[in-house]
Point group: C2
Chain length 280, copies 2
């Protein structure tokens, strides 16, 4: 298992750009081919040193690549991987960075010809999109989930794990089901909650918002259409998480309504304890 | 209207300590008397330069003060201001930093003898309590709401406004009703939401939480008992805000359930727009 000499990145935005920057900062000497439709974005990625060359052709971009990372929106990934698999060299490994895994992995596993697909999801990001916000340390001490299936090529999985470790990430292996359920709970559903929280006050009330409100609603600043796609793709799990959250919140509402401040206290303490188990 | 020469601070924690530090950094040359029950906390405040002297006696602490700031928990403020008003010099101005204003201001306005009470609420804070987290710039570019009533002494109100401007704050004057409704919406209710959000995932799911979840739940790390008091004191408005939030969230749940992604998109966009109107 030799390390890849040519990495291709389809979609050189925040995540794709950060992968390129991280590889180069961590001593990767091979070619990093950026593939995209928008020439000015590709130029920017070249200028920032996130890629070493660029092309608007998927065919040309992947035809010599050992490892290909698809960093396009969730609802384009299956189509893009299918295209790539027709042009990638035999034995090439393809992964993605989509926030959902169930539908993507089911559609692609064992269906990429002589290339191998392994699903990935880096739990790192930023509400600010674009290669201009890419950072070589975006994945450092962050978790990347890989979701191999029984049919997944074992060697390909090892190469993808090594790739994510190379850019600084901790790698966790989960089933697609576990992954989708977990991210619904700790990412997709909270995104909907933050958006609704930001949208509920009046403009006058918003003027009084302090750092607490700004923190709590920060993720609502992300691209709405991308998040609709993510929630749509993972709708069953997002709906279930949201129902569970609303049930709990309903308990707090009920405690407030009936002046049951012990119960309210129990909820706030449980929240404080859970929050304390995270970092800052 | 001459500036105060002696400021007394009852409760030298994060807020009280930051007031002292800010006054001194901004050229206040008078005495700053810290009053509290805990001698070791008072010593720490002295060491950090947040106060110039300390006492455990309210009577001694306020008997020579021109301006007294009560930085104790919401459910102690009325009692503390009443005590202070019995020992403060005639014409002294007393304010508080409580997160709710309705009950406090109603209980105290016109009832502090020869001293004058004006309600305040600095919309600044930190989930980390204690004078060790105090900072001289805590109020810089932050809003402080003052809530004068018809009976409030006009001169006293002016002195309190000048005092908050002195420590770097922007001052906004609101009725207690407007204040309590607004902070329920942009602070108290979001606190309950953040706590429930942190408490809903399993421990295993929490391990996958990234920066987004950490931001969204940060305020849940604050002291639970203090927040129970605040929500209790402002329960009518907090309940109303929470009901409004749950109604909106219910719309999103319903959109997800019925696959109405246009509606979901409208909500996410509204959230993004509202969030964009805040700073970072």
């Amino acid at each position: 298992m030799k390390p890849p000499a040519v990495v291709a990145i389809l979609g050189v935005g925040l995540i794709g750009g950060s992968i390129g920057l991280a590889l180069r900062e961590r001593g990767f000497k091979g070619r990093i081919i950026g593939i995209g439709r928008n020439r000015s974005r590709l130029r920017k990625a070249l200028q920032l040193g996130a890629i070493t060359e660029s092309t608007t052709s998927i065919e040309r971009g992947v035809s010599q690549a050992d490892l290909i990372v698809v960093c396009t929106p969730v609802d384009c990934i299956v189509e893009h991987v299918e295209q790539i698999s027709q042009h990638a060299p035999s034995g090439a490994v393809i992964t993605d960075v989509g926030s959902t895994k169930g539908t993507i992995v089911a559609a692609l596993t064992g269906k990429t010809g002589d290339a191998h697909f392994v699903g990935s999801h880096p739990l790192a990001g930023n509400e600010k999109p674009g290669v201009e916000h890419a950072a070589s340390d975006l994945f450092v001490n962050r978790t990347v989930v890989v979701t191999p299936e029984r049919k997944t090529n074992v060697e390909a999985k090892k190469r993808i794990v090594r790739f994510w470790k190379k850019v600084g990430a901790d790698v966790v292996s989960l089933s697609t089901k576990e992954h989708d359920r977990s991210v619904a709970m700790i990412s997709h559903m909270p995104h909907a909650v933050a958006a609704v929280l930001a949208a509920t006050p009046t403009a006058g009330q918003l003027k009084l918002a302090a750092t607490g409100f700004a923190d709590t609603t920060r993720i609502a600043g992300a691209d709405a259409e991308l998040w609709v796609q993510i929630m749509r793709d993972n709708s069953v799990e997002v709906l279930q998480s949201l129902e569970q959250f609303i049930d709990n919140l309903e308990q707090v509402r009920c405690a407030l309504e009936h002046g049951d401040y012990r119960k309210l206290s129990r909820y706030l303490k449980r929240g404080k304890q859970a929050r304390g188990s995270l970092g800052s």
